[in-house]
């Protein structure tokens, strides 16, 4: 099949809300823009499943800003980039207002005023109900009207560099994509590439997670981008109900005032998180439920019986998936309690990925990041749910603007055919194999390793190293044998390879951070260490053939920022059962 070649000023990879906003902004400033997406815009990306967006109820200015920054800084355990937080709070208002002007139907009061709702983890911050799918449909129409070239069902498999090498000493000069059903190769030459990276998750049948597997992360990694926050790449949730079904919408369930109770009917969250209690983050709640179980007070339940009917109606309104699921299984939240099934996997909660500055730029010229899978410098291990979609819009807008301004200063770089061939050989390799290992078998094996309780919950250096060895064994024994009978499975093979690389990177980063903070809990360092670890851990791929990660830390300059962290060490609230204690065999 003939190869398709494209030239453009700005190539946007990923058609979620960040990518759509980036493409629109770059187009507004006169660039030639191509937006490429591996599924279909408005039918893929976390935004499609979102039912509310973080939306400050007013434009925050001046003195007040400090209180808003404080909310994020505390939630992010003081690792937030406070300049980014200020920019986010200010501009998320603008992004939501412009969407309202474009006709996105945000939820309203009967009198027509916007209906702002409180959300988990915020005292000041508010959200607005919106059907993300409808919002994306409106953005898709705007993209078409604006003249952005949209290419769908094409997965970008790797980035091209101006020196033909990965990691590069030069700049990013384009990308290679492959049609997911026909295998047709698309080569894009671009002056700038905006990677609108979504989160990366294993395939756990959790709505929106299964098609976000770290393709963008892995491409940026191979190209030599700086990554931050990888040690916090752990996703936890509690909404696997009655050992039967999942629903998203956890932030909203917490938002209406859910209680978490144990077997004895006691509310236990304030023991684990005295500040936020039942409004705490997903990871904290999942851990607390697990600890209650370990100490023999489980199973734990979600209790909505005290919530007034009008709040249940509100929950159903802002999160129709919850309503559908409850109806399907005949659950009446006013009468029934639901057994909770928490879990922890390696994946981005938020704040793990390519590190970006205030303009969305990475350390590589011509490479920008937007989307929830970037290091989200404000949200790092934050507790604020629902911040993700407006964050992506803000970062996308910034990246689109900055990329468009860079267009006139650079020329299209020549294409290195060797680099194209190398990438395609790698991508198509599973099709040349006889039947050996299916991608789904690798996912199962990854799941088995990452759900080992010693590793998932009670990390020590030895346990993390053991997991790394097991993951690397998969990479050496199973990955070369992956075979794909068709182009669909070929894409799945690429996904699992990329996820595995990112999971190993995350584990290596967990070893480096010698404390417990946010999503990272270590039995050998069971405290948050503000004296030594108020810093970001940045990592980049080494230039040698093995590409071993090279770590470095960056001290945060609090002298410029309004919110100051407390000093000293804070012990973690989690108990460690005997068999998982330090020095035990497990």
């Amino acid at each position: 099949m003939e190869r398709l070649n494209f030239d453009c000023d700005v190539l946007v990879v990923g058609g979620g809300i960040g990518g759509a906003r980036a493409a629109l902004r770059a187009k507004e400033l006169g660039s030639k823009v191509i937006l490429v997406e591996k599924a279909v815009i408005a039918r893929a990306g976390p935004m499609t499943y979102v039912h509310s967006q973080f939306a400050p109820y007013k434009r925050v200015e001046g003195e007040e800003m400090k209180d808003w920054i404080n909310e994020f800084a505390v939630g992010a355990n003081y690792l937030a980039d406070q300049d980014w937080v200020a920019q986010y709070v200010r501009e998320s208002y603008d992004r939501v207002q412009e969407q309202i002007d474009w006709g996105v139907p945000y939820s309203r009061q009967p009198d027509g005023a916007l209906k702002y709702v409180k959300v988990r983890g915020h005292k000041l911050g508010t959200t607005l109900g919106v059907d993300g799918r409808v919002c994306m449909e409106i953005l898709r129409k705007r993209l078409k009207v604006a003249g952005v070239t949209i290419i769908e069902k094409v997965a970008v498999v790797d980035l091209l560099t101006s020196d033909g090498k990965r990691p590069t000493q030069g700049s990013i000069s384009g990308a290679i994509g492959v049609e997911v059903r026909t295998g047709q190769v698309h080569v894009f030459r671009a002056k700038n590439v905006i990677l609108n990276v979504g989160p990366f998750y294993p395939k756990i049948h959790y709505a929106f997670a299964d098609h976000c597997t770290g393709e963008g992360h892995a491409a940026a990694w191979r190209a030599g981008a700086d990554f931050a926050g990888m040690e916090f790449a752990q996703f936890a949730a509690w909404s696997y109900f009655n050992k039967q079904f999942f629903t998203p919408g956890q932030a909203k369930i917490q938002g209406v005032g859910a209680h978490f109770i144990n077997k004895a009917g006691e509310r236990f969250m304030s023991k684990y998180d005295p500040i936020w209690a039942e409004q705490s983050g997903l990871f904290q709640i999942a851990r607390a439920i697990i600890t209650e179980n370990i100490e023999g007070r489980g199973p734990c339940y979600l209790d909505l019986r005290h919530v007034p009917q009008e709040d249940i109606e509100l929950l159903y309104e802002v999160s129709p998936t919850v309503k559908r699921a409850f109806n399907e299984f005949g659950i009446d939240p006013r009468k029934d309690i639901l057994e909770l099934g928490p879990f922890v996997v390696i994946g981005t909660m938020s704040g793990s990925g390519p590190h970006i500055d205030l303009n969305g730029a990475t350390n590589i010229p011509g490479l920008y990041g937007a989307g929830y899978g970037t290091s989200c410098p404000h949200l790092m291990s934050g507790i604020s749910g629902s911040g993700i979609s407006s964050w992506s819009a803000v970062a996308g807008y910034r990246a689109g603007e900055h990329a468009a301004q860079r267009v006139s200063a650079v020329d299209l770089a020549p294409l290195f055919e060797d680099q194209v061939k190398e990438t395609l050989d790698w991508y198509f390799a599973p099709m040349r194999k006889v039947r050996q290992v299916r991608p789904s078998e690798v996912w199962m094996e990854i799941g088995r390793i990452s759900s080992d309780p010693g590793f998932a919950l009670f990390k020590t250096e030895a346990r993390i190293q053991a997991a790394i060895e097991k993951f690397e064994a998969i990479r050496e024994t199973m990955i070369p044998k992956i075979y794909a009978p068709d182009f669909h499975e070929l894409e799945k093979a690429s996904e699992v390879r990329n996820y595995l690389d990112m999971a190993i990177l995350a584990c290596k980063a967990m070893v480096e951070r010698r404390e417990s903070r946010g999503e990272l809990f270590r039995v050998d360092y069971p405290y948050m260490d503000n004296d030594n670890w108020l810093k970001w851990l940045l990592v980049r791929r080494g230039a040698d053939a093995r590409g071993e990660p090279e770590f470095r830390t960056v001290d945060l300059d609090y002298t410029r920022w309004p919110v100051q962290p407390p000093r000293g060490k804070t012990p973690s609230p989690y108990t460690v059962p005997g068999r998982f204690a330090l020095g035990s065999a497990q």
């Binding site: 039918r43 990306g45 929106f208 629903t247």
Partner: protein, 86 residues
């Protein structure tokens, strides 16, 4: 996952095919014994469906039924194993 696609109701409009973010649906030309041959949506990659319901929402004849029930449980931790025996 997708529990059922009503092949009698399905009119082969193709919309659901592009609704699926994990690309599990395909069109095939089939005929039930009692009707003419026509293009119908089928689930090609059953295990990859993650119950997001976008296909069911987009289907204009309501032919697709999706359940939230998980047939393949994700890798969970078994708590009973964790409790310290006293």
């Amino acid at each position: 996952m997708i529990e059922h696609i009503d092949l009698v109701a399905c009119d082969g409009c193709n919309v659901c095919i592009d609704s699926c973010p994990t690309d599990v649906l395909r069109m095939v030309e089939v005929a039930a014994p009692w009707e003419e041959k026509g293009w119908k949506a089928v689930v090609m990659y059953t295990n990859e469906c993650h119950s997001c319901r976008l296909c069911a929402i987009d289907c204009h004849v309501d032919a697709i039924r999706v359940t939230h029930e998980l047939h393949i449980p994700p890798p969970f931790i078994n708590f009973t194993e964790l409790t310290d025996k006293k």
